[in-house]
Every structure is written in structure tokens, then in C-alpha cells.
């Protein structure tokens, strides 16, 4: 068990280092760009006084390393800003404040988080069910017509951009057939049933594409296991096909599915941006698109940091789950 503890510790340290590296790269990319950083940060609508104020706040006269240090300080212990007339405190994970609205970036993100979490987590459940199910089915029925059809469908699925599927779904289901109303976000705590019905289409449009990837992965992992010698031995002993597929081949697909799922968190968040914009859901993605459109840099940088944080964390969690699923990883 000490081996597992050591593995956890190594993974934790690695994750922290990666997160720090992410913060360095994000900082350098956005706050050390050539050109008038204060003007870019403040956005095109800022007055010269505001730009001057931003330049002071960003301490543009200090060397880059000092500025990054202050930025880190803001993240870990908070920061005090002087706004000229008063001093404003920005608490511990300080991501700065929007120069367009004056609100703190962290508040903006926290306010939008429930919508985006509902979207991504729900879609994830759906794509795991759909994807792994389809993969199992297609590995089971390999070589038959239904298997060919499933392969074709999953291929078409991987080739369709999220917003195309979403558009078509919305027009067919809400517009033509009128099976569902056009999605409108309802808080889970207010009405769980309406929450689910309204998120069904966004979930589907995110999940169908990812499910296709999972179907292909599950299928190939299972086919690989089914081709192994021990499975042939089971068959020779007369173990039923259903038991072989469910109990042995599916187990072989388990670890790769966990790994791929973590890696897909990033692309799912990217897809969520599209789904939120398309369906008009007030989540982080929609806010990010807005912030990019009006060039609200503190909001953009804060969101990139938070999203990267989630993605790195998801990868770390997946690594640990992977190790739990297959303890031999720990020994390496």
C-alpha cells in the first residue's frame, strides 16, 4: 500500500507543477504581449485615465518576474487594489476584476459555474452510457451488418461539429416536431425535472460526438481482448459468449475508457462553449465568448486559468482511477 501512497504523492506533486506551469504560460502569453498591455487589458472602450490606472495596477514598470509574483500572490493570498479614492480588497483566489463591469472575475465565474457544470457533467454521463453501450454492441456483433452500420454511424458522429448537430437537433426537435420547447436554463434546485428536460438537447448535442469516440475506443479495446489467448481458452472450456463479452472483454476496455474520458474533459468544455452559445444557456462558455468579443482581458484570463485548472485536475483524477483499475501502473 505504501507503493500506492507514493504514487499518489508523485501524481499530486506533478499536478501542482503542471498547474504552476499553466499559470506562467497564461501570464506570459496574455500580460507580456508586445504592444500596449494596459490598453489591451482594459479593452477598446477604456478612457486614457482608466488605461493609466490599469498600467499602475499591473505595475508595468516592474520586471516581468516581479509582476508574475504579484499575480501569484493575488491567487494565493488575495490582493488590495487602490482605485484612486478607496482601497478594494480582492480575496484569496484573486483573478482580478473586469474593467468593463467592475465585478470581480471570480464572482462572475462562480455565478455561471452551475450552468456549465450541469451541462458538462450531464453530457458526460450520457456519452459514457451511449458510447460504451454502442462499443460493446458493435464488438459483440462484429462482422455483421448491424456492426457495419454502427461503425458508419460512429464515424459520421466524429465528423460532425457540435454546433451542426445542435442546430439540426434544435430545428428538428423544437422547431418542426415541437417535442420540446427551445431550451432555457432552469436551476436544478428550483425544478429538477424542468432542469433535465431543458438540458436534454444540449446534453445530446455534446454527447453524441463524444459518444462516437468512446464507441470506437471501447470496440477496439474489446476486440483486442477478445483476440487474446485466455479468451480463446475460456471459449474452449465452453464459457458462454455473453459472459465472455461482459465479464472479460468489457474489463479490458475499462482503463482506456477512463483515460480517454479525462482527456475529453478539455474538448467537452470547448464543446460546451458552442452548446451554450447555440442554445442560449448562461454558462461560463457564453460569458467567455462575450468577454472575448468586448476584449475584457481579466475575465478571459481568469476563465482560461479556471478551465485549465479543471482540465489538469481531471487528468490527475483519471490517472489515479486508472491506477486503481490497474494496480500494475503504480509499480512502474
Amino acid at each position: 500500500m505504501s507503493g500506492f501512497g507514493g504514487f499518489l504523492l508523485r501524481r499530486a506533486v506533478g499536478t501542482v507543477i503542471t498547474l504552476l506551469a499553466v499559470s506562467v504560460i497564461v501570464y506570459v502569453v496574455f500580460y507580456a504581449t508586445p504592444g500596449n498591455v494596459a490598453q489591451i487589458t482594459c479593452g477598446p472602450r477604456c478612457s486614457p485615465e482608466q488605461v493609466h490606472q490599469v498600467a499602475e495596477r499591473l505595475r508595468l514598470d516592474d520586471p516581468l518576474s516581479v509582476r508574475y509574483w504579484h499575480f501569484l500572490q493575488g491567487l494565493f493570498v488575495g490582493q488590495d487594489f487602490s482605485t484612486g479614492t478607496s482601497v478594494e480588497h480582492c480575496a484569496a483566489p484573486c483573478l482580478g476584476e473586469s474593467y468593463q463591469t467592475g465585478r470581480q472575475v471570480l464572482d462572475i465565474i462562480l455565478g455561471k459555474l452551475p450552468v456549465s457544470l450541469s451541462l458538462v457533467v450531464g453530457a458526460m454521463v450520457l456519452w459514457l452510457l451511449l458510447g460504451v453501450g454502442t462499443g460493446v454492441l458493435s464488438a459483440w456483433r462484429r462482422g455483421r451488418i448491424s456492426e457495419r452500420a454502427l461503425t458508419a454511424v460512429t464515424l459520421a458522429g466524429t465528423a460532425t461539429p457540435v454546433f451542426v448537430i445542435g442546430l439540426v437537433l434544435m430545428i428538428v426537435v423544437c422547431g418542426e416536431l415541437q417535442l420540446l420547447p427551445f431550451p432555457q436554463y432552469v436551476n436544478f434546485t428550483d425544478d429538477p425535472e424542468q432542469w433535465a428536460w431543458n438540458l436534454l438537447l444540449p446534453w445530446l448535442s455534446l454527447a453524441l460526438i463524444e459518444a462516437a469516440t468512446f464507441a470506437r475506443l471501447t470496440r477496439s479495446a474489446m476486440l483486442e481482448t477478445l483476440a487474446e489467448d485466455h479468451v480463446r481458452t475460456f471459449r474452449a472450456y465452453g464459457v458462454g459468449e455473453r459472459a465472455i463479452v461482459v465479464r472479460h472483454a468489457l474489463r479490458g476496455a475499462f482503463a482506456p475508457v477512463i483515460a480517454l474520458n479525462a482527456n475529453n474533459v478539455g474538448s467537452a468544455i470547448g464543446g460546451a462553449v458552442l452548446a451554450e452559445t447555440l442554445f442560449g444557456l448562461p454558462g461560463i462558455g457564453q460569458e467567455l465568448v462575450h468577454a472575448v468579443a468586448v476584449v475584457d482581458l481579466p475575465v478571459v484570463v481568469g476563465m482560461v486559468l479556471v478551465i485549465s485548472f479543471f482540465v489538469v485536475l481531471a487528468n490527475a483524477v483519471a490517472d489515479v482511477l486508472y491506477a486503481v483499475a490497474d494496480r500494475r501502473v503504480v509499480l512502474a
Partner: protein
């Protein structure tokens, strides 16, 4: 299918490190019917993109002229005439609200989609190969630094980073070039990882040691001895990057931060299409269909290229489609598949 498989397996016994000579790639691709069809479709699309000015000249239209007389402003900007204004003058009708010619915008949109995707792929390949080779051949310190940066680049979500980067560049910068640069500079991590791994495994081989012992400089070894061996994996992966880049460009343009009007792009055409689908269904269906066909054929072609360059991957699974997942998750895929392959090896070692 079985015919193709036999050919592929027969070809696979020939070489362990698949060579990427153009002729051999062509012959192996010929064995796969789906890949051939996809290649033909891609060739057609490229032809359409190249001939866009010619095609629109034949039609007698251009992609940017407004035709206020062809839209019914009383009904909110719906095109005049049936089926969205389709006729001899406007082969596919006109855009709602502006009256711009849809056919012209569609074929010019092909230029943007394919041009941005291909140019971004070139950037990704160049940066990835340079970083990967430098990491593999450089000192341990250089390797650590470059590998860390690569890890972070791979960890950052492509869509989010591209979106964010588009915010800090002045609006005067030409948009298609900007989108190309952003996509190209954000998504080179996977290529760098593959190239580093491949270079590390080849640099210990005898012929490379021989070159080093005979006094070649590092860059000479890299260019003459290592790069040829990198061609197969890099081409394979680049073929999967192209459809992914098309998806990302269209998504950014759809969100209104990528290619902006008046330059047409398929993703951007879809931004407002849902409002008009009843009056002018082709305004939605044409760009959506074009995107679907393009990404699908490029994905199938990419799959075919991989099977052609690494026949063992396909024959191992006995049935066609191969192991890795194309386009949609290409960037995430590499690290992962490499990871699971490692695990398989460890399993074998411990068994």
C-alpha cells in the same frame, strides 16, 4: 473488406519501420475503397476552392455584393422568390437580409476552411517537429523544459485557448491569417510528443551512432538520419489534424470571433442560419452539409493514410477501422494512446 485486409497484411510484412515514399503510400491507399472515395471528394473540394473565382465568374456573381432588390424587407429580410431565391442568376439562392449570392459565399467559404486548416496544420507540424527533435537531441535540461511546455500545451483546451488568444490581437489584423496562426500555435503539442518519442527511439540505433562517430554535427544527423524516419508518424498525425482544424475554425467563426464578414466562412454562415431555416432552408443545410462532407472525407482519408503507413495497427484488430480516434479528439488522443500502450507493455513485462 477481406480483399483489402489481405493486401494490407501482405504489405505489412515487408518493413518494420514503414517508409513514407509517395508511391508506396499511394499503392497502399489504393487497397482501401473508402479512403479512395474520400480522397476523390477531398480532391474535388480542393479543386472547388482553387477554382472559386472561376466558378463564380461563370455564375456571374461575387461573394460580397449586396442585392437589396432580392430580399423582402417587409417580411424581415427573407429572400424574394421560392426556395430562398434559387434561379438562373443565383444557383443556390441568396443570403437572407443581405441578398449576397449563396453559391459564391459557399465556394469562397471552401477557400477559407481548407486554406486555414491546411496552413494551420503546416504550422503545427513545423513547430511540433522542431520542438520534438530539439527535446530528444538536446541536453537533459532542454528536454525537461520543452517537455514541460509541451505537456502544458497539450493540457490546455484548444477551443478555449484559441478563443482567448483572439481577444488580445488588434481587430485590424487580417482575420483568416490570425485564426490560422492561433490554431497552429495552440495545437502542436501532440506532434511534438510523437516526434520526441520517435526520435528518442531512433537516436540509439546503430546507423545514427555511426553517423555521430564519423563526426557529423547534430543538425546534420537530425536532417539526414532522423527526419526520414519521422515522416510516417508525422504524416499520419497531420492527416488527422486537418479535419480537426477545420472543425475548430468553423466553431470559432460560428461563435463570431473567427473569420468575420464580409469574408465568408462555413461556420460563420451558420451563426444566423437557425433563424431563417423555414424561409431559406439551404442557408442552413448547405454550409452544414459542406462542413459535414469535408470533415468526414478528411477523417476517412486520415484513417486510410494511417492504415497505409502502419498496416500492423489495422491487422492487429482484424476489422477495419483502426485503434485511435480521429479528428474530434486527436489532440487528446496521442498522449493517451501512448499511455495505454505503455501500460500494455508493462503488463507484458510483468506477466
Amino acid at each position: 473488406m477481406s480483399e483489402a485486409l489481405v493486401t494490407v497484411e501482405a504489405a505489412g510484412t515487408g518493413s518494420t519501420v514503414p517508409a513514407a515514399s509517395g508511391a508506396r503510400l499511394f499503392w497502399r491507399l489504393r487497397a482501401q475503397r473508402a479512403a479512395l472515395v474520400a480522397a476523390a471528394v477531398v480532391a474535388l473540394l480542393v479543386l472547388i476552392a482553387l477554382a472559386a473565382p472561376l466558378l463564380t465568374a461563370v455564375e456571374g456573381q461575387d461573394p460580397t455584393t449586396y442585392h437589396p432588390s432580392l430580399i423582402d424587407s417587409a417580411r424581415g429580410g427573407v429572400p424574394v422568390g421560392s426556395f430562398g431565391g434559387i434561379g438562373a442568376d443565383h444557383w443556390l439562392g441568396v443570403e437572407p437580409q443581405t441578398g449576397r449570392d449563396l453559391f459564391a459565399r459557399l465556394v469562397y467559404g471552401a477557400r477559407v476552411s481548407l486554406g486555414v486548416a491546411l496552413a494551420a496544420t503546416v504550422i503545427q507540424v513545423v513547430v511540433g517537429v522542431v520542438v520534438g527533435v530539439a527535446a530528444a537531441l538536446g541536453s537533459q535540461w532542454v528536454d525537461q523544459l520543452l517537455s514541460r511546455i509541451t505537456d502544458v500545451i497539450v493540457a490546455m483546451p484548444l477551443m478555449i485557448m484559441s478563443l482567448a488568444l483572439l481577444a488580445i490581437v488588434p481587430a485590424s489584423f487580417p482575420r483568416p491569417v490570425l485564426v490560422t496562426l492561433v490554431i497552429g500555435l495552440v495545437a502542436w503539442g501532440s506532434i511534438a510528443k510523437i516526434v520526441r518519442a520517435q526520435t528518442l527511439s531512433t537516436k540509439g540505433l546503430d546507423y545514427v551512432s555511426a553517423a555521430r562517430l564519423s563526426g557529423w554535427r547534430t543538425w546534420q544527423i537530425a536532417r539526414r538520419e532522423l527526419l526520414p524516419g519521422l515522416a510516417a508518424p508525422v504524416i499520419t498525425y497531420a492527416a488527422l489534424l486537418v479535419p480537426m482544424n477545420i472543425s475548430v475554425e468553423s466553431a470559432l467563426s460560428f461563435l463570431g470571433v473567427g473569420v468575420k464578414p464580409p469574408t465568408p466562412s462555413w461556420g460563420q454562415m451558420l451563426t444566423a442560419a437557425d433563424v431563417w431555416y423555414q424561409a431559406a432552408p439551404q442557408y442552413l443545410l448547405l454550409p452544414a452539409g459542406a462542413l459535414f462532407v469535408t470533415v468526414l472525407s478528411l477523417t476517412v482519408l486520415g484513417d486510410g493514410v494511417r492504415t497505409a503507413l502502419d498496416p500492423r495497427a489495422a491487422s492487429r484488430l482484424r476489422v477495419g477501422t483502426g485503434r485511435k480516434d480521429p479528428a474530434a479528439n486527436a489532440r487528446a488522443d496521442v498522449g493517451q494512446t501512448a499511455g495505454s500502450a505503455d501500460v500494455t507493455k508493462k503488463k507484458e513485462a510483468s506477466a
